[in-house]
Symmetry: C2
Subunit: 228 residues, 2 copies
C-alpha cells in the first residue's frame, strides 16, 4: 500500500470527569503525558504516518511547552479544535490537502497496538473505511419508555478508535452540519451513505475517562503491554 | 427490612479464558483467592446475609483446603454446581428453604461495593427484583445479516451482578427448562413475565475473565477501592 497515511489525534477533552485541573490527555503516565504515548503508537506503527494533533486553542502553548520539556521529537502538525468533537475532526481534516487514508483516533487511547493500527489502514485501503470494535463481555439490556428488555449481546459491538477512512470519503461525509447522533466518525460516514466495515480492536485499547481508567492505564503502561 | 437475605455466589467457571490451570475464582489477589474477596463483600455489607457458594463438585475439596489454609472464617454453605450457569443457580436456589431475598452474584466480581449490595436488596424488597447495570462508555453498533448500524448508546445498559430477587419469584422463574437466551438471572425472570428493575452498578465491579482483568484487579485490590 503506497499511499499517504495520516492520523488525526483528537485531544479536545477538558477533563471534567477526572476531578483534576489537568485535562486527561496531559496527565503523565510513567512520566510522560498520555498524548505523547498515543502519538508514539502511530509513529512506531509506521514512521511515514503524518500526524495531525487537534488541540483546543488555549492548550496549544501548554502542549508546546510539554514537547520541549520532554524532548518529544515526533514531528506532528497542530490543528485548532472546535467546540465539539465533530468540529475538531472537521478542522483536522481541513488541514490535509492530499488524498490517501486517515485514521481518526482519541488522544486518550494510548494503548492502541501497531497491529490494530496497520490492519485498520489496510482494511480502509481495500474497503473505504475500517472501524475498530470489540465484543461485549457483559449481558446487555435495551431501555425504553416502559421498561427494558434483554438483548442478544452477540449482535452488538462496542466502538473504539482508530476509525480509518479514505480521505476523500470522510471529507465528503464531514461536509455537513453537526447532528446530535454523530457520536463518532463512523456515524458521520454512515449518515452520508457509506457501509461501515468493522475490524477487531482490543480490551487493552481503553479510553482514559475516569479516575479508575487512569489507575488501569498506569498498570498497562508499566507492563509495556503497549509495545505490541 | 427484617427479612432473610441470601447471597448465591456462583463460581462455576473453568478458567478456559485465563490461559491458566487454576480457575480464575481461585487465583490469589493480594494473597487471597478472588472468591474469598467476593464472599467478604457480602458478609461485610451485612453479616446477617446467608451465603451459598456454588462450586463444581470436583472443586469442593480444593476449596475446603483453601479455606483451611487461609483461615477463612466466614460461614457459608456449599451447593454443587451444574453443567451450566443456569443449572448452578438452580441448584443454589434449591438449597434455600426460607422465603426472603436472594442476591445472585458472580464469584469473579470481587469489587462489588456494600452500598450497591444493600441498595439492590432494598430495591428487590420493594419491587421484586433489582438488576445492577452500568451505562456504556463507548459508542455501540448493532450487527445484522447485511452489515451494521449505529445505535443510541444512551438506550442501552451493560448488565453486572448482583441480580437480586424475591426468593419466591426467582424460584418460580427457574422452575423451567434452560433456554439459549438465558444469559443471566434477569433473562430467566423476564421470561416468566417479570418486569426488570435496573439499579446503578459501578465500573469498579469488574468480572475477572481475561488476563488483563486480573492485572486490573490487582490494582483495585491494592488500592482497597473495594472497601466502600
Amino acid at each position: 500500500m503506497d499511499i499517504p497515511k495520516y492520523a488525526i489525534i483528537v485531544a479536545g477533552g477538558k477533563g471534567n470527569r477526572m476531578h483534576s485541573q489537568l485535562p486527561k490527555q496531559f496527565i503523565p503516565l510513567v512520566g510522560k503525558p498520555v498524548l505523547m504515548h498515543t502519538i508514539e503508537r502511530f509513529h512506531f506503527a509506521d514512521p511515514k504516518i503524518k500526524i495531525v494533533l487537534v488541540l483546543p486553542e488555549h492548550h496549544i502553548k501548554f502542549w508546546k511547552d510539554l514537547v520541549k520539556e520532554h524532548h518529544f521529537e515526533i514531528i506532528h502538525q497542530i490543528a485548532v479544535g472546535g467546540t465539539s468533537r465533530f468540529q475538531s475532526v472537521k478542522n483536522g481534516l481541513e488541514t490535509i490537502k492530499e488524498d490517501g487514508l486517515v485514521a481518526i483516533h482519541d488522544g486518550v487511547r494510548p494503548f492502541i497496538s501497531k497491529d490494530i493500527i496497520n490492519n485498520a489502514y489496510q482494511t480502509a485501503y481495500e474497503k473505504g473505511n475500517a472501524i475498530v470494535t470489540v465484543s461485549l463481555k457483559d449481558s446487555i439490556r435495551e431501555v425504553h419508555q416502559n421498561g427494558n428488555d434483554a438483548k442478544d449481546r452477540s449482535k452488538f459491538k462496542l466502538v473504539q478508535t482508530p476509525q480509518t477512512f479514505n480521505l476523500d470519503i470522510i471529507k465528503k461525509a464531514y461536509n455537513t452540519s453537526e447532528k446530535s447522533f454523530f457520536t463518532d466518525d463512523a456515524s458521520v460516514a454512515e449518515a452520508s451513505g457509506n457501509n461501515i466495515n468493522l475490524v477487531d480492536g482490543s480490551y487493552y485499547n481503553i479510553k482514559i475517562t475516569t479516575p479508575e481508567d487512569l489507575q488501569i492505564a498506569e498498570i498497562f503502561a508499566k507492563k509495556k503491554w503497549n509495545n505490541s
